[in-house]
């Protein structure tokens, strides 16, 4: 057992920290620290800064513009980003589509699309969920019918995060209705400007436009935009789910959020004393603090045990469940800390809005109930 980082790893940490000090725009850091929303250009600006240093797609192999970092390095990198309140990378291109293309895409696809993810030419969104296919994703109905050198796509996707900014969408579509439902799904890349695509906003409970419905009516997609083999899309989608588990528990972000929570609570008074000294509130904070310290180690245990970064499904599920529970508890405590001040729509630092918005953490990416199904199957072996 050794819980320390090596001198080389500590030197790496210093390098990342120095980079952030010099390159992270303070306006962006302030927005993240105070839970404000980033605009499209904020995201683009940050991606460009990371890309210039070669740190945008950290998990890609070096030959495609990735870093080749060890698990520990990736962890340290994420830790430093969180500590500095740097924005996260918008996952759809760099963390979701990129790895799928690298593993399953054709040479031409890799050559064309990967550089465009890095230089920001394309903003990708994820077209998986449908009104009737959420947890039961494999029951999706959006169809793609081959017609010469095109697919004709019809159907509807929903909950598409930041689809309003995207010019490209990667979609799971049904190309066959024979056999098991998982076996008739294909992975298609679709240009959002193709005629027949309509994007409609969905407003969430916090009043924000974050997700969208996307309608496809006779949308023509060139066959070269099929990734891998027809009807094998489910395999690629699942790969995308198991790939890259470093971030899934959100440990570093929770550490930064807990620090902010402490600052917020310090500034609130109860009976004339800071809320941090109120026994009930202090106990609430202590509980989540302990849980988080434990999770730091659980997270690293899973990551290191999984070696190449692809953790066993049930271990990833565990990180997802408890990691999101911790994050949600911190936002809950921030809301509680504000007391009566949590009620105005524009609360200080967007705290109530973020609490409401983060209900999503236990719903998307495989709901926490579905994750528990995965773990119980593996534990019970029956």
């Amino acid at each position: 057992m050794d819980l320390t980082f090596t001198p080389a790893e500590e030197a790496f940490r210093a390098e990342v920290r120095a980079f952030l000090e010099q390159n992270l725009p303070s306006m962006l850091a302030e927005k993240i620290r105070t839970a404000q929303r980033l605009s499209k250009s904020d995201h683009e600006q940050w991606h460009a800064i990371l890309n210039q240093r070669g740190w945008l797609a950290v998990h890609w192999p070096v030959e495609h513009g990735g870093t080749g970092w060890s698990i520990e390095q990736s962890y340290i990198f994420e830790d430093e980003l969180s500590r500095a309140h740097a924005p996260g990378v918008v996952a759809f291109g760099p963390s979701m589509l990129g790895p799928v293309l690298i593993k399953y895409g054709s040479e031409a696809q890799k050559r064309y699309w990967l550089p465009r993810i890095l230089d920001g030419s394309d903003w990708w969104c994820q077209g998986y969920s449908e009104p009737g296919a959420g947890s039961d994703l494999a029951s999706l109905k959006t169809s793609a019918v081959r017609d010469g050198d095109h697919y004709i796509v019809n159907g509807q996707k929903t909950w598409t995060t930041l689809g309003q900014h995207a010019n490209m969408i990667f979609c799971l579509v049904r190309t066959s209705s024979e056999g098991r439902k998982q076996e008739g799904i294909s992975f298609l890349l679709i240009d959002m400007k193709t005629p027949g695509i309509e994007v409609r906003p969905i407003i969430l409970l916090d009043g924000e436009h974050e997700v969208n419905e996307i309608f496809f009516t006779n949308v023509k997609v060139p066959v070269e935009n099929l990734v891998g083999t027809e009807n094998k899309g489910w395999t690629y989608a699942k790969y995308l789910l198991t790939y890259e588990r470093t971030g899934i528990a959100g440990v570093s972000r929770s550490i930064a959020a807990l620090k902010e929570l402490r600052r917020i609570a310090q500034a609130q008074l109860r009976n004339g004393k800071p809320l941090t000294e109120d026994p009930l509130f202090a106990a609430r904070m202590a509980r989540v603090d302990i849980d988080l310290r434990n999770m730091v180690t659980t997270n690293l245990r899973v990551l290191l045990a999984s070696g190449d970064g692809a953790a066993p499904l049930e271990m990833g599920a565990m990180l997802k469940i408890r990691g999101t529970e911790i994050r949600q508890e911190i936002t809950r405590l921030a809301r509680i800390a504000l007391g009566p001040q949590a009620q105005p729509f524009c609360t200080p630092e967007g705290i109530t809005a973020q609490y409401l918005n983060y209900r999503k953490l236990s719903i998307f990416g495989g709901s926490n109930e579905v994750q528990r199904e995965i773990i119980s199957k593996s534990l019970l072996e029956m």
């Binding site: 409970l205 008074l269 509130f281 609360t347």
Partner: protein
């Protein structure tokens, strides 16, 4: 023992409930809630015509109710339909006038729906502590008894402040005592700044700079406590109304939403979750009954019952809100679904007149001293 409402009260509840079902649909509610005013004077008048405001006050004050269970039937219906009109402030300020025996003319206008009132006890530093006051009263004339004073200070997060013609305000009187005052809003020195609230409607802060005020009582704390108790009974029942809708909507969804070829209500993981929510709600209803029953009783028992109720509905409200969103999946987070607005109201009730922790520690100290 009998846990049914009296016939009269049940009739009021039924009439009001039907009225709201027909006239105050969720679309109407959203339109009103999102309007620049954040409430509707016309609806307010309509509800007054039905006798709803009168039900909040006793006969001596020109109403026909005013007991804990009168508040209960009214506020439960308000919760069921997410009504944003200024009931809470009007109840609390109106009861302050009634109990102080002042301004029966204003009370009569209130009961007729011609005006609305606000109750301003919270301050930026007070965090639910009624005795934590920095707003300061000064006599405007040589003789205190004439009742004209000026107030300076700041009152925060007052529901529907802009809707009110007057506010009842707590303020420090001299060094060690506190008074309750009536302030006419919009007069010099009484500046209202309003904003939208998370759960709909509007709230506001009141900045007082030598604002002219009438003294209602110079021994404010006992009255403040009593009125806050009434406010908590009201909020607890509103919460019960809100949570019943959360439960019903979630049950409906569990029966109809299909994934993996079957209704999601067939998954035992969700069955047990909704059962837990249902148990929390029944416990909250009992707490609200206890508090309503204790409202007219001796101070110690009353205060313990209202703190128990507010702790319970605060806790249950968070559970019901979070669980019903979760069991809906993505759709539970959408603005379009009424459910998310019920969830926000359930959560925000927890931030009014004392949160879980406030009332838990208050319950402990009341138990020690009582």
């Amino acid at each position: 023992m009998n846990f049914t409402h009296s016939e009269d009260r049940q009739m009021l509840a039924d009439t009001f409930g039907r009225h709201l079902d027909q006239q105050y649909t969720i679309d109407v509610r959203h339109r009103i809630s999102g309007s620049p005013e954040g409430w509707s004077r016309e609806r307010w008048l309509g509800m007054a015509d039905l006798g709803i405001i009168g039900a909040l006050f006793d006969e001596r004050s020109g109403g026909y109710g005013g007991s804990g269970f009168d508040l209960a039937v009214v506020f439960e219906q308000l919760g069921r339909s997410l009504v944003v009109e200024p009931f809470l402030g009007s109840l609390m300020a109106g009861q302050a006038l009634a109990k102080a025996g002042c301004r029966s003319d204003l009370l009569a206008q209130l009961i007729a729906g011609e005006t609305a009132l606000a109750f301003a006890s919270e301050e930026p530093q007070s965090r639910y502590d009624l005795a934590s006051l920095t707003t300061q009263a000064q006599p405007a004339q040589a003789q205190h008894d004439h009742g004209t004073w000026t107030l300076s200070g700041r009152k925060s997060v007052i529901p529907q402040l802009e809707a009110a013609s007057h506010a009842v305000v707590s303020a420090r009187l001299g060094k060690d005592s506190a008074g309750l005052f009536l302030v006419e809003l919009g007069k010099p020195g009484a500046v209202v700044s309003g904003y939208k609230m998370v759960d709909g409607g509007r709230g506001g802060d009141l900045t007082l700079d030598r604002a002219s005020a009438t003294l209602l009582t110079d021994n404010a704390l006992p009255l403040l406590e009593e009125i806050t108790a009434a406010g908590i009974v009201a909020l607890s029942w509103e919460a019960v109304g809100v949570m019943d809708v959360l439960k019903k909507s979630t049950l409906d969804y569990l029966r109809t939403r299909k994934q993996f070829g079957i209704p999601i209500g067939k998954f035992q993981a969700l069955q047990h979750r909704i059962v837990n929510v249902a148990i929390e709600i029944e416990q909250a209803r009992s707490a609200a009954i206890n508090a309503a029953a204790a409202l007219a009783g001796p101070r110690a028992a009353r205060e313990r019952a209202v703190s128990a109720a507010k702790y319970t509905v605060g806790r249950a409200g968070t559970i019901a809100a979070e669980e019903s969103i979760q069991m809906h999946g993505g759709i539970g987070m959408s603005w379009e679904l009424p459910l998310s607005h019920y969830a926000k109201r359930a959560l925000m009730i927890g931030h009014q007149l004392g949160d879980e922790d406030h009332h838990l520690s208050r319950f402990i100290s009341l138990a020690v001293t009582g």
